[in-house]
C-alpha cells in the first residue's frame, strides 16, 4: 500500500489484508490485531489499546465508508518493531477532517470518539480523505 504522507520510514516484514464488509469482519480484524500484537509481545495494556483502536477504525470503515479493507503490516524502523494498520474505504469521504477529529463530533449514532479516541491509543495516526473518493486511515503502534 503506497503512502502519500511523510510518515516515518519503515521496512515491512509481513503483510496481510482483511476485508471489512460485515460487523463480523470487525470482530475478525480485531482478533487479528490481537494476535499480531501478542506475537510482537506488546504488553497487555498496549495490546488492549491497539485492539480497541482497531475496533473503532474498522467500525468507521464499515459504517461511514460503506466497507473496505484493512492492511496489517509488521514494520521496523531500524530501532524497533511495530504494527501498521491501514484502513481503506471508497465511501463518501470526510468533509472536515479537523472537525471529525474532535472529541464528541459524530455524524453516525456513536459518541464521536472513534477517530479522536483511537488517535490517542496509538503512536502514529495519519488520515487522508477525499470527498466522493474515500478515506485512508493509517496507524502505527510501536512496541
Amino acid at each position: 500500500m503506497g503512502t502519500k504522507w511523510s510518515q516515518t520510514k519503515v521496512t515491512t516484514l509481513k503483510s496481510e489484508t482483511f476485508p471489512i464488509v460485515t460487523s463480523d469482519d470487525v470482530v475478525k480484524v480485531r482478533q487479528a490485531a490481537r494476535m499480531w500484537a501478542a506475537e510482537l509481545k506488546f504488553s497487555l495494556v498496549d495490546q488492549t489499546k491497539f485492539v480497541t483502536a482497531t475496533s473503532e477504525l474498522a467500525r468507521n470503515t464499515l459504517e461511514h465508508g460503506g466497507g473496505g479493507l484493512m492492511t496489517a503490516e509488521v514494520v521496523e524502523n531500524g530501532l524497533r518493531k511495530g504494527i501498521r494498520l491501514t484502513f481503506t474505504d471508497s465511501g463518501p469521504g470526510i468533509a472536515n477532517i479537523e472537525l471529525a477529529l474532535k472529541d464528541g463530533y459524530s455524524t453516525g449514532g456513536g459518541m464521536g470518539l472513534g477517530l479522536s479516541g483511537s488517535k490517542r491509543l496509538v503512536n502514529e495516526f495519519y488520515i487522508n480523505s477525499e470527498l466522493g473518493r474515500g478515506t485512508v486511515v493509517t496507524i502505527i503502534r510501536w512496541k
Binding site: V26, Q31, K49, R59, L113
Partner: protein, 131 residues
C-alpha cells in the same frame, strides 16, 4: 442468530458477556435485557464483563444505554469485573462511563445490588431481613 443468555435470580437479572460481541449481538442484548426487566419486574441488573478483552466506544455506549434504560424501568445496574487494561484504555479513549455503577467482582456487585434493592435475592435462606 446467537444471543447472550440472561439469567434470572430472584429480583435480579444476571448477564455474563463471554464472547467477543459483534455489534448486532450487543444491540440484541440491549433489547432482550429491557424486555426481561419489564417481564419479571426486576429491580437489579448485574453485567459481568470479566472475560471481555476490549470495550470500545460502541460497547461502552451499549453499557451506558442499558444502565439508563434500566433506571427508567426502575432497576439498578451494576457492571462488574472490568479488566484493568480495559479500564485504562476506556478512559484514554475518552469514556469514563459516568452513570454506571461498577464493582470489582460479581460478589461485590451482588452485595451492591442488594443494598440498593434493600431486599434479598437469595431464596429463603437469608439470615437477616431489614424490612
Amino acid at each position: 442468530m446467537d444471543r447472550i443468555p440472561i439469567l434470572k435470580m430472584g429480583d435480579c437479572l444476571l448477564v455474563t458477556i463471554q464472547v467477543d460481541m459483534h455489534d448486532e449481538l450487543a444491540m440484541s442484548l440491549q433489547e432482550d435485557l429491557t424486555a426481561q426487566i419489564a417481564k419479571y419486574a426486576s429491580r437489579g441488573v448485574l453485567i459481568d464483563i470479566s472475560s471481555l478483552e476490549i470495550v470500545d466506544s460502541f460497547i461502552g455506549r451499549m453499557l451506558a444505554n442499558i444502565a439508563a434504560m434500566s433506571r427508567v424501568l426502575d432497576a439498578q445496574t451494576v457492571l462488574t469485573g472490568m479488566q484493568p487494561a480495559v479500564a485504562i484504555t476506556l478512559v484514554e479513549l475518552g469514556m469514563s462511563l459516568p452513570g454506571i455503577r461498577t464493582a470489582l467482582n460479581v460478589e461485590r456487585g451482588m452485595a451492591l445490588l442488594q443494598e440498593f434493592i434493600g431486599d434479598e435475592v437469595e431464596s429463603d435462606q437469608g439470615d437477616d431481613t431489614e424490612e
